[in-house]
Symmetry: C3
Subunit: 298 residues, 3 copies
């Protein structure tokens, strides 16, 4: 049975297989399970975007989606996450997509279930389908990861995506740089030479990947206003002129227009932001298929 | 591509086409898109009734409905409505039904999307599918709009329906009168001779259309108690006896029983209130078909 | 037309028919309505477990489920339950599953609707599908109800299940005992000899049915801490050793691990707790089929 929990567990070959499957779906290939399959999306932390994307992927595969409202669930009566998921298993759900605010919430679950978990994001930890859709978008653009330079800019510490993207990209042969407010950086990253001043990072990247400023976390701790952030660490219109001719702009969204990126750039020719969202559906179709097939019966 | 935003944008011919299509659906005609189509219902303002009706219409057309919870969406993280809808477009949603508390929220969207919006209500402005279901119910009853008299009674100022119904009915050849508490009336309506005392309005109408008293808006501003409103401006049992023999009672619901209408009248022979709800599904099937066909690919 | 409101309304023969139908579904029998059927689940009181189980049952029967959010419904604008259900009837819903915090909420509805209600729980009153799934689990185990002894342990007064299970089991030929904190007991039960000290109840039962301690109701009224409850009235590991060799442990869930039952026992060989959840889906398929067929058109 194949959970999808972290990028670290995937070999380069497995990543390539998933991306290839996703590309197939984008090119119109079809797959639906032979018998009806039931999926529940458990989002204990809000994320309409990721949830909608999974919903679209599930519907396109002809899966039956069982609604599950986490706010009103028995978890609020003190039920453990284990008992909740075990219940879904008992009523016949074939796989769960799970997002939870606790880092590695899945460690207490993964070996005790007979149905796969697809991690839709855990705490400040992992968000493998976001990482896969970023990889797909980059690969679609450049045809390879080898020798590519990717600059990741923003709040590295709190980003689920930054570290796992960096690991995966490095594993696949790309070179990764970071930039952003130094106080938001883990010390090791600042010291290992991969931290670049913002203009250098923008110049260096074949892909310039901006992270969302999470105002809800930082308003009190950062000394910067939104405008100051934009000028010092955001992709301004002027700074975007420093980019390589073939360089692309990426962002996991939702975008703070005028903060990490200038309003005018969001839908500019270099931007792949809405393409990332589009690709997210195909990547999720691929990992859902992978999980359901791994259970056999197909 | 055909949005459905306001009644004003529809010509009499287009209205008749929609009503004819709706009538066909009521008579058992079927239509489903050739390829799967995906719809999202974005209700930023609550309306279980309208939402359920759209859901029924969507299911009857064989559409896939992607759940979208506005309360927990990225809009609460500051995302613009434009970016939210654009995201849905990017993940492959083919049309959105949108209800929002801002008047004409769609002005900033309509020219920038490649998918149609069906307006499920905006602020105190428009609610075209409610209007269309009212028109369908009247037409079903009388076979025409020409020469009909329609009395609209209640809170005209805050009603999405009153003005657009009045415009549409007039355009189609009916004559419209108004009644209700004068302080809830726009000055122009009071002065142009279409305002009638309540008993006159009840006597005049082939259709007597009551509006919901929105206690949540008025409790503090109106000097009338519920009982007083009922006696002065509601359709009491006594007042209903003034109605024409073939006259019908309409109400957009939810009904405040004993306020704008006597409890006993809600399901009386003259009432078309539940028929309006029934017709709402067929009207929504018609406008959904219209929107999806306009995108081509069908 | 066949509502399913209480166990009391079902004859032993009807109960056996439902259980037999449910067993058929468990053995892989299929049934889907000839024309599309639309269901709404109205849970005015939270219960993710029961709702998910109904959703699974509905999907397995190929029914279309119309989402209905009770929190944001017009009920919050003062609409009566009657008008809400009548609206759903008007838009074309074929049956409603309803859970509501008022005891016997259905008395004002059942004779005025043309669509069936399936009671998903009312106040402290009835929860017939929970009762039926308990019966199915017992019958699956022992092949009969005649002569069986069932011990129900816990908060009898506040349990929807305890009394209706007891009535149904007695009607079917089983003998029922009770145990738990005496202050949570109705006087009549304590006095009629069916109340046993906890160890006796555990020894006596072919099925030992534990009820959930509803902390949210009792914290202030009960003098017992969770640990004390577990020692005095819970199924501890030691106490479980008193059970009959063929005895089974049941619990409606969600379980308070370490309160009414020791953590280690929840998935022990004697436990049928997750099997109960599994059976719940089949029982609900059976009663949904029964309700839809009773409307004719099938």
């Amino acid at each position: 049975m194949k959970h999808l929990l972290t990028m670290a567990e995937l070999s380069p070959t497995e990543i390539e297989e998933i991306l290839s499957e996703a590309k197939g779906f984008k090119n119109g290939e079809k797959w639906t399970p032979e018998a009806p399959k039931y999926i529940a999306n458990l989002f204990f932390e809000n994320s309409t975007r990721t949830k909608c994307s999974f919903e679209m992927a599930e519907r396109r595969l002809g899966l039956e989606v069982i609604p599950f409202e986490t706010q009103t669930s028995s978890v609020s009566k003190g039920e453990t996450l284990y008992d909740t998921v075990k219940t879904l298993e008992a009523v016949g759900v074939d796989a769960v997509v799970l997002r939870h605010e606790h880092d590695r919430y899945f460690d207490g679950l993964k070996d005790q279930l007979s149905i796969p978990i697809l991690n839709g994001g855990d705490g400040c930890g992992n968000h493998p389908t976001q990482c896969l859709l970023d990889l797909m978008t980059i690969h679609e653009e450049f045809g390879t990861f080898k020798g590519l330079k990717v600059s990741i800019i923003g709040d590295i510490s709190h980003s689920r995506v930054a570290r796992s993207n960096a690991e995966a990209l490095t594993k696949l042969g790309a070179e990764v740089f970071f930039s952003g407010p130094p106080e938001w950086f883990p010390d090791d990253l600042v010291e290992d030479g991969r931290y670049l001043p913002i203009d250098e990072a923008v110049k260096a990247g074949d892909a310039v990947m901006l992270l969302r400023v999470q105002h809800e976390r930082h308003e009190s701790t950062s000394a910067l206003t939104k405008e100051e952030y934009h000028q010092e660490f955001g992709l301004t219109v002027e700074r975007a002129d420093l980019m390589k001719e073939h360089g692309i702009i990426m962002h996991p969204a939702p975008v703070n227009r005028g903060v990490e990126i200038a309003d005018e750039l969001v839908e500019s020719p270099k931007s792949r932001i809405f393409k990332q969202m589009e690709n997210g559906v195909y990547v999720r179709m691929a990992v859902l298929k992978r999980a359901l097939i791994s259970q056999g019966g197909e």
